[in-house]
Symmetry: C2
Subunit: 605 residues, 2 copies
């Protein structure tokens, strides 16, 4: 017995489903054996599956029954044992953040235009949105933030004149247990007749309270608001001399009576930095901003922190806020959209990343988990057919962060393609190793931001070097990197002592972060005896070679069309990209260092 | 007595003027003394001014009378002697090429949106277009190409469904002796039902002939078509295995019966170059393409060649085609839009450039002269109030290329502002020297393309280095530049022997082109004894210093508002830009060379 994931989701969903139980019953029809459902409201999102005669009983809360139905389908489809006992999600908020603009574009979208916006309005095919709801529910995602955190006009009106449209959209997703969230513009009161957006001004507080009341009257189960403030030219409380706790709490108090969460992004830094000033170091910024505020946030605020201190680079250490904040409700933000990680052209399976992060910070450090969406209007939703894996696995990971990355990938492969055991193992291994390969040909040793500015695809090792973004490698003829130890910018000191000490010592620092934390001469001797420059050459040569091996593996997979052709077409581009990274980075460092490759491979002059 | 140029042009022009003589009479009303006009059709664009009693007689051809009226106003306004004898323009075609798109944007426009396009249609204020006609006529410009050489849909329809609108627009400019030109899309037959655009296909030839007939029925005095073909992804004859003479002649033959010119841009190169391949050198491309075709072009074709072999960089040698082609009608293309020369923020007066070029190639080498427009919808037409100079002087230069650059600048200054003699001299000197200052802080020694990709403003010394545009400096720890001598790419060999020899020898090569033609070690000793690296440092430090001196000069000028504030505001940005160029380029070369500045100035690490 086999139920394919995306192919299954393409089948029409009737528009008559009212609640998750209806959806659960609809889905259960795919199962040959009879399935009974038992609503146990106290279980909430939890469920329990039991074998009952020649069929199954799924008991669960309001949405738990639906999650149970999908879990049953998954277990049967993957030939796995049924989960034992009551299953509950580890993170209560499992969120997808969509950076969709109302003009239909998606910021950093690589799978076509928005599924629900076009022409500055909601504009969608309800049948496809039902499929979307099903897709999200099938992996346990329960919140969808519908609009870009950079709120471009008229998206402000999603909590104004466009509320009826927002409510209609929410209604389509409600039977799938998916609640909406909206990104709001901190300065919106200014656009609505007030002369200030100061969070301590009582008129502003009243304005937001009235706004929240109106929003919840239209969408009673809204998950909350998402805010990017005082970041990359977004308005925020700093304009009024207020801090981020004052800004966030003001909004949170407007939402609290309705049970809504206020998700406040911790992505702050000076985006107008002078490259000449080596004393400012962008990764330090968030910790400096939020540590003094620890304990100041209301309980329905979630400070949503990107996994690393920069911005979804291929390799970053975990944000020190996860170790430092003790009295602040935190959320963890990943990015499924492959902005810096291959743009859904190059293969980049993310489960190993997520597991690394939660292992490092402790999964219980955060109370919510979010990921920037990789969805779009493309026929296959994701651009690259394998990019579906990242959404699929993210949902399951958010439910159970102890899940094994390899198992998540295998489950997706099995639910997507009918491959032989060998082929399934080959596909699983291909994806499981894809992140390491991408890292090796783009950014081994933790050296970030060698990507082309604007596009964020392809190498440009000095493209960011003299810009205002705070993203410098400072390569010269002798050395490369930024010293972030206590002798340098002090970033490493933001970590707890043991970690700080490890990061601050080039002999102890994990090699994949060596050039994140240190400025080293090209002749620096690595632990295995190779010089730094030789290691740079080796990694880039070997990374590109590994990409070629991946291409051969892919070629041998008997995938159905159009996935086979689509994946092959993108792999051709990935190979060009991998060779470009190999040659550009090697040439760049060869021009600076003058060091020959010990193995005599071609480094272009 | 004084008539200001732009201020004068702002006054309303009646919509009743039918022909240039009407316009001439209208303009003459500004002159206190009586002016009589005598039409002498044989004079064509020529005129003769004579003192007659207490007034003047202006004799001239159909448009000559108007040019005579403006010349009289100019002479009186500038306090100069009347021109003696019959005055005739040196170049019969004096063209402005507008890169206006029908959506209202302007490619490389720095003075606001299009004056005549918006929302994929003609959309303009007729009164302002009459002012535009007057502005162009007042300096003798007689052709305006209305749309971008990159023909984006629906601009193809300018010679299709939009012909009535084109004709109406032409009618507004006709009384000012300004004829329209249209940029056409070589592949247009494919969009109109044919299955080919092959220039040797008789159906294609017939299609273009029919199209030309229709166009000339609507706009009988159209100057012709402008074409960018087989360049930067534009369609062209190469797709059908035909050469550029075959492509151009096919179009030229459709225009010939109507007296139209076919202007064919010589801007060809491989824009998908592999940076690894040092054997391909972009500046070589046009010569390699067109020399074999010399003598193959019909007489109503004009091969329009940019002044240098690259693309309007701050310093380039003259295109070798001007020296090589013997039997091809040529046009010379400049760019008033300051794409790479400060974007109408930084001061950059162009008359010295034009004079250098025509002195070098011989003014009689070309039969037409064109410039990419710097106009836009800004209140002052040009963004920077001083950028008006470049259009003003270009027109007069195209009429008389022997004009002295300083005199052209002084004439513009006098016709624009009522300054004291000292201040006028200061403004003239400021502008006359502005190009050299800009060159010094951005690209001394002829090293091009260190500008930010995409924006083309501000430094990014390696921004283009690994891209596909064929624009490399190949800086490394030992040397910088590309060897274009016979030992290198051979580009220098495209020049006549004497020039080729001069360019090919680093000891004889003009220093402002040294790094255009040569790859040299940082320790290379320049003619004055300084090393190359010291010279790079000195030029960038001194260029930025000179910009600061310019700012002081500007500050002391008693300009009227809003020009004073506008110029000051832009000068602030220019100073930031000049310092950025100084520091980024010096740091870049310091990081590579490791050489200290002999004078101990600050070079940031």
């Amino acid at each position: 017995m086999r139920y394919a994931w995306l192919p299954m989701l393409k089948k029409p969903v009737p528009d008559t489903l009212q609640r998750p139980l209806d959806a659960a019953k609809f889905e259960a029809r795919q199962i040959a054996d009879p399935v009974c459902f038992a609503l146990e409201p106290a279980l909430g999102e939890g469920y329990r599956i039991e074998k009952a005669g020649d069929g199954y009983t799924v008991a669960g809360g309001e949405t738990g029954v639906l999650y149970g139905a999908y879990a049953l389908i998954r277990a049967l489809s993957c030939g796995e044992a049924l989960p034992e006992g009551v299953q509950r999600p580890y993170y209560p908020l499992r969120m997808i953040n969509c950076w969709d603009n109302m003009d239909g574009s998606i910021e950093r979208g690589y799978a076509g235009r928005s599924l629900w916006f076009e022409g500055d309005a909601f504009h969608y095919d309800p049948a496809r949105i039902r499929q979307l709801g099903r897709m999200l529910a099938s992996v346990g995602i329960n919140v969808l933030c519908v609009n870009n955190v950079n709120v471009h006009w008229p998206a402000q009106q999603l909590i104004g004149d466009l509320l009826p449209d927002l409510a209609a959209f929410a209604g389509i997703l409600r039977p799938f247990g998916v609640r909406l969230m909206v990104s709001v513009d901190f300065s919106m009161p200014l656009q609505c007749g007030l002369d200030t957006a100061d969070p301590l001004d009582s008129r502003v507080q009243a304005w937001w309270k009235q706004r929240a009341d109106a929003v919840y009257a239209a969408v009673p189960d809204l998950a909350g608001f998402l805010v990017k403030a005082d970041s990359e030219h977004r308005p925020g409380p700093n304009a009024y001399g207020r801090d981020h706790a004052q800004g966030a709490n003001m909004l949170a108090r407007a939402l609290a009576p309705h049970g809504g969460a206020l998700v406040w992004r911790a992505f702050v830094y000076n985006c107008l930095q002078d490259w000449r000033d080596h004393s400012v170091d962008r990764p330090c910024a968030a910790y400096e901003t939020y540590m003094p505020l620890d304990g100041s946030f209301d309980d329905n605020v979630i400070l949503q922190i990107k996994n690393g201190p920069y911005d979804f680079q291929v390799r970053e250490p975990e944000s020190p806020l996860f170790f430092g904040l003790r009295h602040t409700p935190m959320g963890l933000e990943f990015q499924l959209a492959q902005e810096y990680t291959g743009q859904q052209i190059d293969l980049y399976a993310m489960p190993p990343l997520w597991r690394e992060v939660t292992d490092a910070i402790g999964k219980d450090t955060v109370r919510a988990i979010a990921a920037v969406s990789n969805l779009g209007r493309d026929e296959n939703w994701f651009g690259h057919p394998f990019a579906a894996l990242n959404l699929f696995a993210f949902g399951l990971f958010a439910w159970d962060p102890d899940g094994d990355p390899a198992a998540l990938i295998r489950c997706w492969a099995r639910m997507t393609y009918a491959l032989t055991a060998d082929q399934e193992a080959a596909l699983t291994d291909l994806l499981l190793g894809s992140r390491a390969v991408y890292e090796r040909y783009t950014a081994p040793l933790g050296l970030c931001w060698m990507v082309r500015p604007d596009k964020h695809y392809g190498p440009s090792p000095y493209g960011y070097e003299f810009q205002a973004w705070g993203t410098y490698n400072r390569a010269d003829r002798d050395a490369v990197g930024v010293d972030r130890s206590g002798r340098g910018t002090g970033y490493a000191c933001q970590y707890p002592p043991e970690l700080a000490e490890r990061y601050a010592d080039p002999e102890k620092c994990p090699e994949n972060l060596l050039l994140f934390f240190h400025r080293l001469p090209y002749g620096f001797v690595m632990r295995d005896g190779r010089t730094l420059i030789q290691r740079i050459y080796d990694d880039h040569f070997e990374g590109a070679q590994q990409a070629e091996a991946m291409a051969r593996t892919l070629e041998a997979l008997e995938l159905p069309e159009p996935d086979r052709s689509e994946a092959a077409r993108r792999m051709e581009k990935q190979l060009i990209n991998a060779r470009e990274w190999r040659d550009v980075i090697n040439t760049f460092f060869h021009r600076f260092s003058g060091a020959a490759d010990e193995k005599g491979r071609v480094i272009y002059p």
